[in-house]
Amino acid sequence: MTHFVRVQTADFDLGVEVATLRAGNPGVGAVASFIGCVRDLNDGDAVSGMFLEHYPGMTERELTQICETAAARWSVFDTLVVHRVGALQPLDQIVLVAVSSAHRGDAFRACEFIMDYLKTRAPFWKREATPAGSRWVEARASDDAAAARWTDTSAVA
């Protein structure tokens, strides 16, 4: 089992990343993946671009730990997180999470878990440009709620 974690300014190719993740493993029956993209609207304001900052060292450590937690909870082969930093525009890809597994339930569950935890635990911060100027994006209560779901064993299989 391997957890691949990368923080980079460069864009990524979802097809290449997923093909690499499952390459040569004929036990993989399922790959669930997710990409997050820059929207041109946030909290009701037009967004013309953003800058993503992170905390080098802690970011990679935190992302790896999130993947390890997912792999301990569900039956998965490998996990991949690629997160971009620097200047991004609407339509740009921000983040990729992919999980390979024998069966789809584990892949879906682990992939969404990693995204939810990444959102509330991985040290990234967005500064977005709007017509009123540039502003730091505020953390969302809905993201905390999404992450908290995974500790409520009655709600999640």
Partner: protein, 100 residues
């Protein structure tokens, strides 16, 4: 643990210090990204450090006020206020994360 730590520390290191790191909005508001900071006592807690930083003045007192949403990580791990800080630690203070 405590004895071993003291034993291994060089005699000439009179001023124990930590690396302070401020990130994102806090870095901008404080105008500081990283600084070497003297540890006040041998094993200061995160709470003691925050209290000292608030004494620096208005913007520190405001951003690090009790009840404000910020996180403290010591050596890349988020910790609670009672966490003990030791010389050489990297202590980062940052707003709630907004990646993904």
């Amino acid at each position: 643990m405590r004895i071993g730590f003291s034993y291994n520390r060089p005699m000439h290191e009179h001023a124990a210090s930590i690396q302070l790191v401020f990130l994102a909005r806090l870095r901008e508001r404080f105008g500081i990204a990283r600084e070497t900071y003297p540890l006040p006592v041998e094993q200061a807690s995160v709470a003691m450090l925050l209290s000292q930083l608030r004494a620096r003045g208005k913007v520190f007192a405001e951003e690090l006020a009790e009840g404000r949403a910020f996180r403290v990580a010591v050596n890349h791990t988020v910790v609670s206020p009672d966490h003990a800080i030791r010389s050489g630690d990297e202590v980062a203070i940052f707003p709630p994360v907004t990646g993904g």
